[in-house]
């Protein structure tokens, strides 16, 4: 039971470390809501700005299509500049003095009258992030086109449905929860996988290489505690830290969403319906073995390092290794199956997506557990071996 003594001491030690506490509690709880809130605010305000934006266009060939010109000139938040030399239109758009230009050629009216297609070319800059100018012009043109078609059909004594042979109705059988799960469910595990890793990282560095740096490693190695006790005690604490950090990151997101005023009420209701205690508990059962896997692997690497600094440089690039499968899990088309459910981290991401969507397959879920616990056990075995290896423990 010596591992409990070690675990108790490590808990006292890390809870007094401000940096670890900041990373473990304050960071996930506060950062996520602030991040989500800021992103939502920026997106909403940018969208508002785009709809409020006054766009400037040039209308070349006004005399060939006076009606169309009128349709544009009557629009709000749209200014037609008529002093633009035709040759300079493109360079003006390029330099963003103009948002777009409409070119009408001389054959416009005759084409309209002859039931032919009139040529209209629009020049715009595609890097305009909201595509405001193009969209607004398109909207006016479509409206105007519909009125021309109506006139043409009346002349030909045809009903408008002649051009609409199908009346297609789409019915989506996926529940709102499923759609939400498949769409947004991917990034949620990404967040708690990353936080779980970060939550394990600091204590693992401190409890492994930190012992070497302080010279305390010899103190505990010369105590009656066995190497297994030492590893187990440290591992339990690191795993708890990882688990807690991941849980707090998830809690941070869910609490954050409730606090953000710009989130539509319907979406909020949906989120509250999906994230029941049962769903959260089920997700956390995945976080537990993945935290164990991270903790054992990081502790093993940390004890291998000669110093805290070396441990940091070994562990930091792993962030990318962790992110990679988590990101793949967010991609559409990657689903949980017999194979993907065996790949650690990716399986957590995919399984969480299905849990959120409410469509988790119990066979795959069992496979995910087996895989995660298997990898965690392997990592722990490797970690204990490292602690027993003289060349690792006394590398310096």
């Amino acid at each position: 039971m010596k591992f409990l003594i070690i675990a108790k001491k490590e808990i006292i030690d890390i809870t007094r470390d401000k940096r670890t506490m900041l990373m473990m509690i304050a960071f996930p709880l506060l950062l996520m809501p602030v991040l989500i809130g800021t992103m939502m605010k920026i997106t909403t305000s940018q969208a508002e700005k785009a709809s409020e934006k006054e766009i400037k266009i040039a209308f070349v060939g006004q005399k060939y299509a006076p009606n169309l010109f009128d349709a544009f000139s009557n629009l709000d938040k749209l200014i037609i500049l008529d002093q633009i030399p035709i040759d300079s239109v493109e360079s003006y758009i390029q330099s963003e003095y103009l948002d777009a230009a409409i070119n009408i050629d001389s054959s416009y009216q005759s084409n309209i009258n002859n039931n032919s297609q009139a040529q209209i070319s629009i020049v715009y800059k595609g890097t305009d992030s909201f595509g405001t100018a193009k969209e607004r012009i398109q909207m006016v043109l479509e409206q105007f086109e519909r009125s021309i078609i109506e006139i043409r059909m009346n002349k030909l004594n045809l009903k408008p449905n002649v051009v609409n042979a199908y009346n297609v109705e789409f019915k989506d059988v996926a529940s709102k929860q499923e759609r939400f799960g498949k769409l947004a469910g991917g990034w949620l595990p990404y967040v708690f996988i990353l936080f779980g890793f970060m939550g394990a990282m600091y204590p693992a560095l401190d409890l492994g290489s930190g012992e070497k740096e302080r010279g305390t490693l010899e103190t505990i190695l010369s105590s009656p505690a066995s190497r297994f006790d030492i590893v187990l005690g440290k591992f339990i604490v690191i795993m708890s830290a990882a688990f807690l950090t991941a849980f707090l990151a998830l809690a941070g997101i869910l609490i954050g969403i409730q606090q953000i005023s710009v989130i539509p009420a319907a979406f909020l209701t949906l989120v509250n319906e999906i994230f029941t205690v049962k769903t959260i508990a089920l997700i956390m059962t995945l976080v537990l073995p993945v935290s164990a896997f991270f903790s054992a692997a990081l502790l093993g690497l940390s004890i291998y390092a000669k110093s805290f600094k070396e441990a940091q440089s070994i562990v930091a690039p792993l962030n990318i290794v962790i992110i990679f499968p988590a990101v793949i899990g967010t991609l559409p088309g990657i689903e949980l199956n017999m194979i993907t459910s065996l790949i650690p981290i990716l399986n957590v991401s995919l399984a969480s997506k299905d849990i959120i969507a409410g469509v988790i397959n119990p066979i795959y879920m069992t496979e995910v557990y087996l895989s995660l616990f298997g990898f965690a056990a392997l990592a722990l075995y490797w970690c204990v071996r490292s602690f027993n290896k003289e060349s690792t423990i006394f590398r310096n």
């Binding site: 030690d13 302080r214 010899e218 105590s223």
Partner: protein
């Protein structure tokens, strides 16, 4: 009592280590750090292990403390074999190095309690022992202050307290005064003396000849992993051909 017999310790060197150690070790795949070393440390006596850096002192002491396993040979500490009865050996020893080896975020009391708990001490015995040690080391004024905020002297006292909190019968000191100033070294010297008076078995490694003269009853000179002198300090003094310990040591090591 420590009984070391025909102790050998080999380390396998990897490519990088061979490179770091220079041309001399370019083709050395296995480095013999301790080579057929035998000695005996008796209770109530202080045994000094002398040797320059890299002689094999730390490796020998780490093997005594069961941190490293001997390649061959045997070590018996207080009647227990260091390999088959590692845990029993560890429960008999107090190990101290030149580093204070403390946890900054704990207090001296917590530090001592941690070690006492690992040694399976019950609360009552711990309290009594702690009171005794904290009184004689004059530690009560900072007993509940975080170690990070203590002075070097206070840290050294805490380190002493945690080393002897479980009242070990065998004390292993690995260059305990290296890097310490005169005042803090003094505390360690006093500790070694009191351990001797209490009848404990004490082994310590050093390259400070003054300390050897001050403290040791028996001495051994270890160089390049081999023990080539092992006797009482008095015997060593009587055999001295040079005027000072330093000169005698350099002379003897030079002969090798």
């Amino acid at each position: 009592m420590i009984d070391v017999k025909n102790l050998i310790k080999d380390f396998t060197l990897n490519k990088k280590q061979r490179k770091e150690m220079g041309d001399k070790y370019k083709n050395t795949k296995v480095l013999r750090a301790v080579n057929d070393v035998s000695f005996e440390c008796k209770p109530g006596r202080v045994y000094g292990l002398l040797g320059p850096n890299g002689a094999g002192k730390t490796t020998t002491l780490r093997m005594i403390a069961t941190m490293l396993k001997p390649t061959s040979g045997s070590i018996t500490v207080a009647g227990y074999d260091s390999v088959s009865k590692g845990q029993e050996v560890r429960s008999q020893i107090g190990f101290m190095t030149g580093q204070t080896a403390l946890y900054d975020r704990l207090t001296p009391v917590e530090m001592a309690k941690y070690i006492a708990d690992l040694h399976g001490m019950d609360n009552k015995t711990f309290k009594k022992r702690k009171e005794h040690l904290f009184n004689i080391l004059d530690m009560n004024s900072f007993a509940d202050r975080r170690i990070a905020r203590l002075s070097t002297g206070m840290k050294q006292k805490t380190s002493i307290a945690r080393t002897i909190i479980h009242d070990p019968q065998v004390m292993v000191f690995d260059e305990p005064t290296s890097g310490l100033d005169v005042m803090t070294s003094r505390a360690i010297v006093d500790l070694i003396r009191s351990c001797k008076e209490e009848g404990k078995t004490v082994i310590f490694s050093t390259h400070r000849m003054g300390e050897v003269n001050q403290l040791c009853d028996d001495i051994a000179i270890i160089y390049k992993g081999k023990l080539f002198y092992n006797s009482t300090l008095d015997q060593f003094k009587s055999e001295m051909t040079k005027s000072t310990f330093e000169e005698e040591f350099i002379y003897r090591v030079g002969e090798e």
